[in-house]
Symmetry: C2
Subunit: 256 residues, 2 copies
């Protein structure tokens, strides 16, 4: 029996994790460990300076999980080390409301939960539907389940995970699946200034995406053109070309 | 006159940012925009669901900066878009208390501030001293200043930043500088269980580092052997080898 750990960043009471966990039960034993409250855009934050609590969360007899007052990465550490007490066969994070393509991979809590598993050498998949108002997670949960089987069958490089995005469309309008790279599209954002009822300034982060991807090999572009995307990502951030170039700089002459 | 933006994750009242900003004034105009409170291990979190506030922070006539109740990445966005109103020539983040090598790069707020600048195509450097009890930031601030000059002189790939670590040693004990890759060393961590005064369980994240790096080409190993390290990192997380391998999987047969 496969042991599957499920987490997310939208919180344990989101519809996406409910649909995902239910579907994955066809594949094996499912443990759910997810944030008690929404943790979108927390990136790969972990909780070191405040105590973490765990509570049990039920929806009738249909759904059971552990709710953690921490980040998605916390949930994966907690799930594996303190709740499952053994390595799962696979960790699946999602299904997220909103795409996690191009630069959003960097900010994503959903992806960071899967990446935390990859750091622990556990195969993992992050799954997102490309709308903050998504309500239909059926196709995304099927794709995640199929991919989990494929990952376990074919194997994946330790430290690498699959980041999956699905258009928020009826399945007959999804054109197919593209294997993609992380796109270059990014946010042109700023903090919008407002005045509170007490006359003090405050700010909201806001912005628009700059679409810099021009072909179906890029996750953001493929997703915008109604393809589901699968991007293998890892956590070796070394820029190997720059690594070679810097060897020629005068740095060695700096004296301690 | 160079325009330099300085941020960090230890907070605007930390000694590391004070020493760094003072030293960088030799190079140009310095703007400081940093978190109001410590933001260690927040990764690349950004603040989207709560309002952000900015206050002015002074230390007599010696130090002035903007304190933000947000994350290091927020500070860089706020600094560039709302405070400087123009692109700085370079962003420098630090000087952090505690190393940011190997897997810690993923969790680091210090590195994420510099990475946010890299995303905006601004050259950037993250600087850390390898002890949470570091008090001497002189050599690290000199190295950061020298490197800033080198980056601006030689140029750096857009989207790439330099992650710099310095041993917490008297400078005569620092053996030199190594150009390094991100090491593979990582944490074996878990949540330690405790009972609060009300009889309820709570957890603290704790663990020890597993030293998986065996040569001076790895940041963690070089640092432990008393070298300062310079690792060029970027934010393209694509695993290009796995990208090619997945092309052969049966994924195309999954039907939407």
């Amino acid at each position: 029996m496969l042991r599957i750990l499920v987490s997310n960043d939208d919180g344990i009471d989101s519809k996406g994790i409910y649909v995902l966990a239910k579907k994955l039960k066809e594949l094996g034993d499912v443990s759910v460990v997810a944030p008690r409250t929404e943790q979108s855009a927390v990136g790969h934050a972990i909780t070191m300076k405040t105590p973490v609590r765990v509570t049990k969360y039920y929806v009738n007899d249909e759904f059971f999980g552990y709710a953690v007052n921490g980040t998605p990465a916390d949930c994966v550490k907690m799930g594996i080390k303190n709740i499952m007490h053994e390595m799962p066969d696979i960790v699946i994070s999602g299904i997220n409301n909103g795409s996690n393509a191009a630069i959003n991979i960097i900010y994503s809590g959903t992806v960071s939960a899967a990446r935390e598993a990859a750091i622990m050498d556990v195969p993992s998949i992050a799954v997102s539907v490309a709308s903050h108002d998504a309500t239909d997670f059926e196709y995304a949960s099927e794709l995640a389940t199929e991919l989990a089987g494929e990952v376990l069958d074919k194997g994946i490089t330790p430290g690498t995970l699959l980041n999956v995005n699905v258009p928020n469309k009826p399945r007959e309008e999804i054109k197919g699946i593209q294997i993609t790279k992380q796109g270059l599209s990014k946010w042109d954002d700023r903090f919008e200034e407002r005045i509170d009822p007490y006359g003090k300034k405050y700010y909201w982060l806001t912005g628009k995406i700059i679409d810099l991807d021009k072909d179906l090999h890029c996750d953001h572009f493929a997703l915008r053109n109604d393809y589901a995307t699968i991007t293998p990502i890892h956590f070796d951030l070394t820029d190997y070309e720059m690594y070679k170039k810097i060897m020629d700089w005068n740095i060695k002459s700096f004296r301690a």
